[in-house]
């Protein structure tokens, strides 16, 4: 019998080189990481559960994976730190927050009828669809020189992404699950469309938004749309002066010496949450490895790797072992850095005295305007979005 191997699919957002190397070093079994782009990962997650054991991606893919029968329930009794897990800072299954988009706690627990729901169906050791791991709040970054064109007292706004002042030099993500809500916030702020809820657009609102974006794209407003975090780094390092950006890309650019400001937009952030799912096809033998890997994720090592690219973790207790006080206070506490801090690559990404935009993690999470989402009209949005991209 060959030794069982654990097969993991995910994206470069969480499956960073360092994380993969640490997992292989820390865990006593062979692991194959397959790092894919977001849509390819989701498609494979839904269509080919036999090709992986662990799926590592956004919470909003949970609904689709579960509906397609591609994943199986995770038994929290086998997750050592389950009692410490907080979803975006909150105890899962308690107070329900009113926010736009797929709040990550909305579909976490397996219900007695086999569907997913907000609250556990049993208080002890509930079954869950996805193990919450890392999360963050995102916005956009811009070059410091832009401040010269900003009016005194003008607050940072998503509307800036569509602003003529930076015509031809704006960039956004190709992925509609993130971009559509950002652009909905932007277009609403700029007074270009009238939208009720950016996380649940109606077909008419999608049409109106896409019309605005088509017109902007035709006029050459966007430099280009970026397809990956690496792509966004090269764009922001060259032709673009403003663009939606994920935090690893922002800190990579900072490490390269780029003078960029990460915005805390007045409308609020776009939040996202990541997690791990267990393939429906994982055997009992492979599940042992999968649970070991999931438990490892909630220990301090991955949390520190994630923190150094700006992400938060669902379990924070063990981070006292793996992050220095200075790191904890900057990344989580929102305090001024007491020393220069190194990012994931080892480069200095934060200089002494700098402070994270938006404050502490509780402050930033409170300001989530909308969660990355698969909205009810996602099918319609995806098609209209593709037409926009192919324009």
């Amino acid at each position: 019998m060959p030794e069982p191997r654990l097969r993991i699919i995910g994206t470069s957002v969480t499956l960073t080189e360092e994380l993969c190397a640490r997992a292989k070093a820390d865990l006593p079994f062979a692991i194959d990481f397959d790092v894919l782009d977001g849509l390819a990962c989701l498609r494979r997650g839904v269509l080919s559960p036999e090709s992986y054991d662990i799926y590592d991606q956004w919470f909003y893919s949970l609904d689709m994976l579960w509906t397609a029968g591609a994943i199986q329930a995770i038994d929290t009794a086998r997750i050592r730190r389950w009692p410490q897990v907080r979803v975006a800072g909150k105890v899962p299954g308690l107070a329900r927050e009113r926010s736009s988009g797929n709040a990550p706690t909305e579909l976490l627990f397996v219900q007695s009828d086999g569907t997913l729901g907000h609250a556990p169906n049993q208080p002890e050791a509930p079954q869950i669809g996805m193990l919450p791991t890392t999360y963050n709040v995102d916005s956009f970054a811009y070059r410091r020189e832009l401040l010269s064109a900003v009016a005194p007292g003008e607050a940072e706004s998503w509307g800036w992404l569509l602003d003529d002042r930076w015509h031809g030099r704006a960039t956004i993500s190709l992925d509609p699950a993130g971009s559509a809500v950002e652009l909905a916030l932007a277009a609403r702020s700029a007074g270009l469309v009238d939208l009720r809820d950016p996380g649940d657009l109606t077909t008419e609102e999608i049409d109106a938004l896409c019309d605005v974006l088509r017109s902007l794209k035709r006029r050459g407003h966007f430099a280009r749309f970026w397809g990956s975090s690496e792509d966004s780094v090269s764009l922001m390092a060259s032709s673009s002066v403003i663009g939606s950006l994920w935090s690893p890309a922002y800190y990579t650019l900072r490490g390269m010496g780029q003078d960029l400001i990460y915005a805390a937009p007045r409308e609020g952030y776009r939040g996202w949450h990541s997690g791990l799912c267990l393939s429906a096809r994982a055997t009992a033998e492979v599940s042992e490895l999968a649970y070991a890997y999931m438990n490892w994720w909630l220990e301090g090592t991955p949390g520190a790797v994630m923190a150094r690219q700006g992400f938060y973790m669902a379990v924070t207790e063990p981070l006292s072992e793996t992050l220095s006080d200075a790191e904890w206070l900057y990344w989580y506490g929102g305090e001024p850095a007491s020393e220069d801090l190194r990012g994931a690559s080892g480069a200095i990404v934060v200089k002494q005295g700098e402070r994270r935009e938006g404050g502490s993690y509780q402050d930033r999470i409170r300001r989530v305007a909308v969660w990355s989402t698969i909205m009810p009209e996602h099918n319609y949005l995806a098609r209209r979005w593709r037409e926009l991209i192919e324009l």
């Binding site: 509906t67 009828d113 086999g114 099918n379």
Partner: protein
């Protein structure tokens, strides 16, 4: 085209077409290779009829067959007769008598009075399948259209539709107007025939309508349901539940066909039936879903179905109505989730007459 071909059963055709549109979803959507699967074409019926009459010597060698008179005696239009005669001439059973029509065999003309010809042909008219050409292909075209609705917006090319299904452009257009009536397609501002993408709102709105309409229809048909049909369907669902999920998606498709299509077939209120059919398009979503994914979530629906049928069997129509209504209401989240999952699939390979709209 004659009036009989255009409107074969004037008055009831609209409802019939919706019936067949609904039933079409009972077929697997992989169908559609362009070969007519339903009843034969009218020209083919005429060809078979004349061929048999010739072989049986009812139409003796030398008999002169003219397009107009054959059409008149059979009560059909001239076009299919022309085609049937041409086919017969290709087999050598008749030969062209230039300007006069066709001669049976190759001998001399043998005079035959119109009365004789009438006596030979008229009794045979029942053997001709008179289903209008548009009806023959309507169910298949409906299914082809339903099968792309979750994936995007498509434009239908009228001429290519005709070519693909081997019908004239006139018939293709007839089918398209019927599809507009069934609300499966629309005409856009440029007068293109458009298959609009199924949206979450379409699904929600249609389920709301079905909750209003179908319990009402159930009350109308309940008394007339054949007890043995009910028993058979109950046994079928019990069997599916007992073997679930090994019963397979096709079995659930068949059960839903019986429950939501056959169930209402005898509804006398044609307007009500028409409205029901128009709002059942989203039944294609679970059907497409089950071809690709796990049927795990269908078990609770099967349980509801069998309860509903048992209530009908025991005459508890009120309770059956309530159960149907609540089933339709509760089916919405799963239906919408499945619609979202379908978005992950690569767009299906469409039939050649449909092109994706940008």
């Amino acid at each position: 085209m004659s009036e009989t071909e255009r409107y074969p059963e004037a008055g009831s055709t609209v409802v019939d077409s919706r019936n067949s549109a609904g039933k079409a979803t009972g077929q697997r959507w992989e169908g559609g290779d362009g070969v007519p699967a339903g009843p034969s074409y009218i020209y083919d019926s005429i060809y078979q009829l004349l061929r048999q009459k010739i072989l049986d010597n009812d139409l003796p060698p030398g008999a002169l067959l003219k397009e107009a008179s054959v059409a008149s005696h059979l009560g059909v239009s001239r076009a299919p007769v022309r085609r049937a005669l041409l086919m017969l001439s290709e087999t050598g059973l008749v030969t062209s008598a230039v300007g006069q029509g066709y001669l049976v065999g190759k001998g001399m003309v043998r005079r035959m009075s119109p009365r004789d010809l009438h006596d030979i042909l008229a009794p045979a008219t029942d053997e001709i399948d008179r289903t209008a050409t548009w009806e023959r292909i309507f169910a298949r075209v409906s299914l082809e259209i339903l099968s792309v609705m979750p994936f995007g917006t498509y434009r239908i090319q009228e001429a290519e539709l005709g070519d693909y299904h081997q019908v004239s452009r006139t018939v293709a257009r007839e089918v398209l107007w019927r599809l507009i009536d069934a609300r499966l397609i629309e005409k856009d501002r440029k007068s293109h025939w458009i298959v609009g993408q199924m949206t979450a709102r379409d699904v929600r709105d249609s389920l709301e309508m079905r909750q209003v309409l179908e319990p009402k229809a159930l009350a109308h048909v309940a008394a007339g349901l054949d007890p043995s049909w009910l028993e058979g369907l109950i046994a079928k669902i019990d069997g599916a539940i007992a073997t679930f999920p090994h019963c397979g998606g096709g079995e659930i498709d068949a059960i839903e066909d019986a429950l939501f299509q056959t169930m209402y077939d005898d509804l006398r209120n044609a307007r009500l039936l028409g409205s029901i059919r128009r709002n059942q398009f989203a039944l294609i979503v679970p059907r497409l879903f089950r071809q690709h994914f796990s049927i795990r979530d269908d078990l609770s629906a099967l349980t509801s179905y069998v309860q509903l049928l048992r209530l009908l069997r025991s005459g508890s129509v009120d309770a059956a109505q309530v159960l149907l209504s609540s089933h339709l209401r509760r089916s919405e989240p799963l239906l919408l989730a499945r619609l979202r999952v379908l978005a992950i699939l690569p767009p299906p390979v469409t039939v050649p007459y449909m092109i994706a709209e940008d």
